[in-house]
Symmetry: C2
Subunit: 196 residues, 2 copies
């Protein structure tokens, strides 16, 4: 029995966040979740199956959008060569090499209420995805494409997007290999009553 | 004893969502919360104290922002005259008359990473506020100001915002007097793998 229990604890230690993820985070309270979500850039080698990545995207599809147009597409990335090419025009994406998935949120001129609205709608979808990844026990970080026209254009070429579809953001997703404390971000002075 | 229990059930019935709000929603799971959040435009007369409105705003302040600049301000509105004036340039805001609070999310050119980024950051804050209101048992709806320049300009005049501060959205908040079912918004065809 002794070697078996040693193996068990070894497994527990190696997968230190695994049980935390499964048993704690799946019942994460929405308010605590909003407060404890952080940008996670270090990941373990643990796999995230494609259906879980698609579940994360599902939560993005539940974001509000202007006139409920839902003008979004999502490109799931797990090709390391694509990740390396992205680094050429978005230098803050090195963690993608260790991520299980990249999720590119794209906006569609033809689906949006008017073409000016897709960035707003895609930002809400991106935030839903970040919160959902956190709630599912994964770690994620928002990597900006829009509003930089050179990055939007480079992503369009790299992924072969049609002219009316524009990359808005990339979300890097993996199993977290870091735990960051809840910060203090409440600044009461930024709240005004009835006028400036 | 009988009249007392009648009163108790009468109270329960009148405040049909009150106990639901307090006991169920405060423990809302983050994933269910994302799926069940809807735009709520009908409100009861129940009060929402100012500290609760400020708590909702706190969750907005925990949104991610470009370079973590947190380039936002929040104007809490509860002045019915202001609500009527907003209707003159944003016609889809009639529910504000019955809301307990309006929360105007504003972006600040001088605080943002670059001035192009505040709309993206404010959209994430707006989505956090909508989810937090839902998680606290309130009902809320996103009323668009940005990207319409005439609305941004009219809000600047109405609220006396400085030149570098721009209204992005108004969130109407009240105690819900309607319950909307969870919609089906998952569209698998919108998910692509590694390229379009």
């Amino acid at each position: 029995m002794y070697p078996m229990s040693f193996l068990f604890f070894y497994f527990l230690f190696k997968k230190k966040y695994y049980f935390y993820n499964i048993f704690i985070n799946r019942n994460m309270n929405i308010l605590n979740g909003i407060l404890t979500r952080r940008s996670i850039r270090k990941y373990t080698n643990d796999m995230i199956p494609q259906e879980k990545a698609e579940e994360i995207i599902k939560y993005g599809m539940y974001a509000p959008s202007a006139r409920n147009c839902q003008p979004w597409h999502f490109i799931l990335l797990n090709n390391k060569e694509v990740f390396l090419k992205i680094q050429e025009f978005q230098p803050h994406t090195k963690m993608l090499e260790y991520a299980q998935w990249g999720i590119v949120v794209c906006g569609d001129d033809q689906l949006a209420h008017t073409p000016e609205y897709w960035p707003v709608d895609c930002a809400a979808a991106t935030e839903n995805i970040l919160l959902a990844a956190h709630g599912m026990g994964y770690g994620a970080v928002w990597l900006g494409i829009y509003p930089r026209p050179e990055r939007v254009s480079a992503m369009k070429d790299l992924l072969g997007l049609p002219p009316h579809v524009h990359a808005f953001s990339i979300i890097s997703v993996g199993c977290p290999d870091q735990q960051l404390p809840q910060p203090e971000r409440f600044v009461p002075e930024r709240i005004h009553l009835n006028n400036w």
